[in-house]
Amino acid sequence: MLKRGISFVLVLVLAAAMFSGCGKQADKPEPGKPALKVGMVTDFGTIDDKSFNQGTWEGVLRAGKEFGLETRYLKPVGTTEADYMKEIGNLSDAGFKLIVCPGFKFETAIFQAQDKYKDTKFVLIDGYPHKGDWAPVVKENTVSIFFAEHESGFLAGLAAALQLKEGEFGFIGGMEIPPVQKFNWGFQQGVKYANTNYGTNVSMKAENVIYQGTFDNVAAGQQLAAQMYDRGVRAIFTAAGGVGVGSINEAKARAKAGKEAWIVGVDVDQYGEGVYEGNKSVILTSAMKYIDVAAYDMIKAEKEGKFPGGQILTFSAVNDGIGIPKTNPNLSDDVYKKVMDAFAKLKNGSLKVSDTQGDLLR
């Protein structure tokens, strides 16, 4: 046993000597200006999560195709700063000098990376670099992107309330983190706006505003949705990744059985996810963030030499960074028109949506 252990250590030391030796010469990047290569590090979850990672990657891919760039994504082992830093380092060392990182969990990692890899540019979506104290430090090689989720949630809430006119609505969130909270608060404001301005009668109760706590517990999502529907909720806004998938499944099962059960989707147009029969879907509409557009725009800017380094950008109604889908088979034309009116008001600033809780639920 003892010998076995020693042998391992020996072999590893030998291997270390070998590889570190030959590593030295090959390590340096080649002279001349290499072609731009774009990398991405995924957040918690897979590349096909129908949400954050996928949206970002689609933007990267589109830009890559359009400008003929090499693209690559890496999946970190865990979700700690060290895990993210390792993958950023791997991409940078491999010559990927523009790196897109989706998710606030990258904040402290990018804070370090922007100093450590000065020749690499970073796009951080849904967060800004800081050293752990939430004081933003955005260096020249980094751009930080936020979305006005509250505006997106507002539009979706407005649309849902207008379409269904009366009854109970619910909300299922994933983890209680700012983007999810903002979706929730915006949604509630949208419902209120419809009640006040268009005479609808939709209400939300505290017991029907729930953060499940994860983004991947499908079963819990289904259960929570079932409970809400049983309590008489007509439509649920899910901002919860895999948890939302569970809720959609529950809604589909109910719809199939001829019962009413609506879901308001999130991040991307989830209409297709909610199809249960022919082309009928339980997705009333979706509160969208154009993540792919943001990723694409940043790559395009870098390609054109106009990388907005050092800035914190917000994608909102003003720059068409959020919205609801262009086609909503479950919304009437009239409703869509009213939502677009509100969208226009958000755009010109005559309508404001708060991104804080205020006197809203949770």
Binding site: M1, L2, K3, R4, G5, I6, S7, F8, V9, V11, L12, A15, A16, M18, F19, S20, C22, G23, K24, A26, D27, G39, T42, F44, I47, R72, Y73, L74, K75, P76, V77, G78, T79, T80, E81, A82, M85, K86, E87, G89, N90, L91, D93, A94, F96, F104, K105, T108, K116, G132, D133, W134, M175, E176, I177, P178, G213, T214, F215
Partner: protein
Amino acid sequence: MTTRAGREYILSLVAIVLGLVAGAVLMLLSGNNPLLGYLYLFRGGLMNIERLGNTLATATPLIFTGLSVAFAFRTGLFNIGAAGQMLIGGLCATAVGLTFPWSRPVLLAAMLTAALAGGGLWAALPGWLKARFNVHEVVSTIMMNWIAFWTVFYMVPRYFKGPFLETESQKLPDTASLKTQWLSALFNGSYINLGIVLAIVFVALTAFILDQTTFGYELKAVGFNRHAAGVAGINVNRNLILSMTIAGALAGLGGATFYAGYASNMQIGVLPSQGFDGIAVSLLGANSPLGVLGAAIFFGLLHTGKGFMNAMTRIPPEIADTIIATIIYFAATSIMVERVLDRLKRRRAGQLPVAAGRDTIAAPKKGGAR
């Protein structure tokens, strides 16, 4: 004795080589050059002092969870709960680190003690259930994983939340981190931390306890044959509980090195994969402390080098994960290798052609008198 040790040595090497070959086949199948793949994999983990440091840093919690599993296994217990014990260890360390404004040495010592105690107590419960009610430890430790998971889920946002985020604790102050200036500098800013020193100390300590003390003698006796141990006057139940407690304490320390060394805060909603990798580490390391050290470093190397291999080749991350899993799988099944080697040897020994027949069925291993 020498032939036996030599055999073990060959076995583990063959197992690893087989794993690498299987990984190579996967790379070929996905249209990549395995030689390049492995070149980048190993360079990713070793090519400069910083990456070497990261390899060791990644290995650190694995050493602890591997030791944890191996230690329990020596007493005949299967500790699947290293992940939960890590979480509780990390939570205790973080709680102490965020609460007390003590000087660094005192604070670190207190944090590690808390992690040790927390992880130990967390595992003592399944140990007690096993001793008292014969509840199978596999079931109870898995359950305890989820209790730990949700405990952290509740405790962190409730008591240790940062100013903005609900999902992670505040960052630990520098005085409460195992990351140390001189060590980070030595390894060029890598994530290596005092945890590795601690890990090596505990490898030596567990080896010493198991091989040199009456306590180790008792533990192993209970592990091999608890009936005979009981007849000989050894208190079997006490040893079961103690063994689980120590296993939990080791995993708890692993949690401290992970959350207060490798990372610098706790995140909720994540069951650390190191807990389960510890099982594979223990298997490959033949449940011996030094073997665990070697195996953990090997795993650390794979995990650290994987990303660089991804970046330098067109192997997608999912395939890379599969390759790593395949290597681990093969490496951890050295028993299989042993059987294959046996067969080969038998075949070579005979002069006649092999008669028809499938694989050996139910051949009693001890069978023959000698």
